[in-house]
C-alpha cells in the first residue's frame, strides 16, 4: 500500500500534534498554586488559622462549603466541630469572610507565584471555574491593585 504525499501528511501531522500539545509542554513543571512555607508559618504565628489545615482546604474547600450549606439550610445544624476540636459557626458570609475579607490580601499571604494574579479570583480564573456564590453572598470588598 502506498500513501500518496505520505511525507507531507506525516510532517503535517507531527507539526499539528506538536502545536496542539504545546501548552502542556510549556507549562510542565509549573504549578499554578505555589505555597510559600514562610507565609504559612507567619499566618500561624499570628494566630490566623482556617477551620481545617490548608492542605485540606485548598483542594477541598468547595466540598466543605457544599456540606456546610446542606447542614445549615436543610438540617438547621450550624455548628461545625473542626478536626482540631474547635467549634465554628458554619457561615460562608460571616465565618469564612471574616478572615478572607479581601480577596487580594488573604491569598497573597499564602500563595507566592508570579505567573498568576494573587487573588481568590486569580486562582479561580486560572483553573477556569466561576463560582457564583457572590451573586447572593455579599463579597468582601476588594482593594484595587
Amino acid at each position: 500500500m502506498k500513501i500518496y504525499d505520505g511525507g507531507k501528511i506525516f510532517v503535517g501531522l507531527i507539526i499539528f500534534v506538536g502545536l496542539v500539545t504545546s501548552p502542556f509542554f510549556f507549562n510542565r513543571g509549573k504549578s499554578n498554586i505555589v505555597r510559600d512555607p514562610k507565609a504559612a508559618q507567619m499566618m500561624q504565628s499570628m494566630g490566623l488559622q482556617c477551620v481545617e489545615p490548608k492542605a485540606f482546604m485548598l483542594p477541598n474547600h468547595m466540598q466543605l462549603l457544599d456540606e456546610w450549606r446542606d447542614s445549615v439550610v436543610r438540617k438547621g445544624n450550624r455548628l461545625y466541630k473542626a478536626s482540631d476540636g474547635k467549634n465554628y459557626v458554619m457561615s460562608f458570609q460571616n465565618t469564612c469572610m471574616n478572615c478572607h475579607s479581601d480577596k487580594n490580601e488573604s491569598c497573597n499571604a499564602c500563595h507566592n507565584n508570579l505567573a498568576i494574579k494573587h487573588t481568590c479570583d486569580g486562582c479561580h480564573n486560572s483553573i477556569a471555574v466561576k463560582p457564583y456564590c457572590w451573586d447572593c453572598h455579599i463579597a468582601p470588598k476588594e482593594k484595587k491593585s
Binding site: 456540606e67 438547621g76 455548628l79 466541630k81 458554619m90 451573586d135 447572593c136 453572598h137 455579599i138
Partner: protein, 273 residues
C-alpha cells in the same frame, strides 16, 4: 473458542451482578468530606415544634408602628425596594381587611376596620401548598415548622407563587442588588439573585442565635412569637383567652399566624331592646 448457551448465560449473569453490586458498593462507600458527627445545632438556639405568631391589631395603632416593623425585617434581610408593585419583593406587608380576610367583610363593619392596614407575612402553614408543588424541594418544611426556602436549589419556576393562597411569595424579576442602597446592605445576610422566589423565613438565622424574629422585636408587644405546640407558651395562653382569626382557614393549609382583630374595644355591649 466455543461456548455453549449455558456457559454464556452464567458469565452474563455474573458480570451483571458484579456491575450493579460494584456500583452500589462504590456509592455506598463514598463519603462526604464531613463526618455527620462534626455538625451540631447551635447550643443557644430557640427550639420549638410549631412556631407561630399572634398579631394584636389593637396594638398596631399607627402606620408608623407598622412601618417600623416592616422596615426592620426588610433592612435586615436585604429586601430590595423597586418602588413599583410589579417588581415588588415583600416579606412582610400590609393589606386591607377585605383583601386579608376575603368573605369576612360586610358593609356594616366599623369604618376604621375597613381602612386599617393589616400586617401580613408568610403563614408557615402546617400543610404548605408551596412545599407540595415545588419540583426541586427548594422549599421545605423544617422540623420546627418553618417553611424554609433553599435559594441554592430554587429554579425560579414560580409554582409556589401560584400555589400560595396568601401571596406571601415574591419573584426576583430584577437583580435585587439594583434595588438596594449599597450603603445600607446588611453584610451579615445574603441578598438573593435574579430569578429566584423568596419570602419570610421567620428569621431562622436569628432563632439560631436565640433571638426572636425582627418583626416581633420591633412591634412593642403587638406581635407575640412562640411555640404553638407548647401549651405553656405565651402565644398559647393568648390564643386560649382571646378570640382570634386566621387568613383563609377554609383552604386547609392550617396557617400559623393568628390575628386578634379588636374584640376588646367595646367592654360594655349595648343592651338589645
Amino acid at each position: 473458542m466455543s461456548m455453549n448457551r449455558r456457559e454464556f448465560l452464567k458469565i452474563a449473569g455474573i458480570s451483571t451482578i458484579a456491575g450493579i453490586g460494584g456500583t452500589a458498593l462504590a456509592i455506598g462507600l463514598r463519603k462526604g468530606v464531613l463526618d455527620a458527627a462534626q455538625t451540631a445545632p447551635d447550643t443557644g438556639a430557640l427550639t420549638g415544634k410549631r412556631w407561630g405568631i399572634a398579631i394584636d391589631m389593637n396594638k398596631l395603632k399607627s402606620e408608623e408602628n407598622i412601618k417600623r416593623v416592616t422596615d426592620a425585617c426588610h433592612s435586615i434581610h436585604n429586601v430590595p425596594d423597586f418602588s413599583n408593585t410589579k417588581d415588588e419583593v415583600k416579606w412582610i406587608w400590609t393589606e386591607t381587611f377585605e383583601h386579608s380576610f376575603p368573605g369576612q367583610e360586610h358593609k356594616f363593619m366599623p369604618e376604621d376596620m375597613k381602612r386599617k392596614p393589616f400586617l401580613l407575612l408568610c403563614n408557615h402553614c402546617d400543610n404548605p401548598a408551596c412545599v407540595r408543588v415545588c419540583p426541586t424541594k427548594a422549599t421545605f418544611k423544617r422540623k420546627d415548622g418553618i417553611v424554609m426556602q433553599d435559594m441554592h436549589r430554587c429554579i425560579g419556576c414560580r409554582f409556589c407563587m401560584a400555589a400560595c393562597p396568601f401571596g406571601a411569595r415574591s419573584f426576583n424579576y430584577r437583580d435585587p442588588r439594583t434595588g438596594l442602597n449599597p450603603e445600607k446592605i446588611n453584610p451579615e445576610f445574603p441578598t438573593r439573585t435574579k430569578g429566584v422566589v423568596e419570602k419570610c423565613t421567620f428569621c431562622y438565622e436569628r432563632l439560631a442565635k436565640g433571638i426572636k424574629p425582627a418583626c416581633v422585636e420591633e412591634s412593642n408587644g403587638a406581635l407575640v412569637f412562640g411555640d404553638l405546640d407548647d401549651p405553656a407558651s405565651e402565644i398559647r395562653r393568648i390564643l386560649a383567652s382571646k378570640y382570634t382569626i386566621r387568613r383563609k382557614p377554609e383552604l386547609g393549609t392550617e396557617p400559623n399566624i393568628y390575628y386578634i382583630i379588636g374584640g376588646n374595644d367595646y367592654a360594655v355591649v349595648p343592651e338589645i331592646k
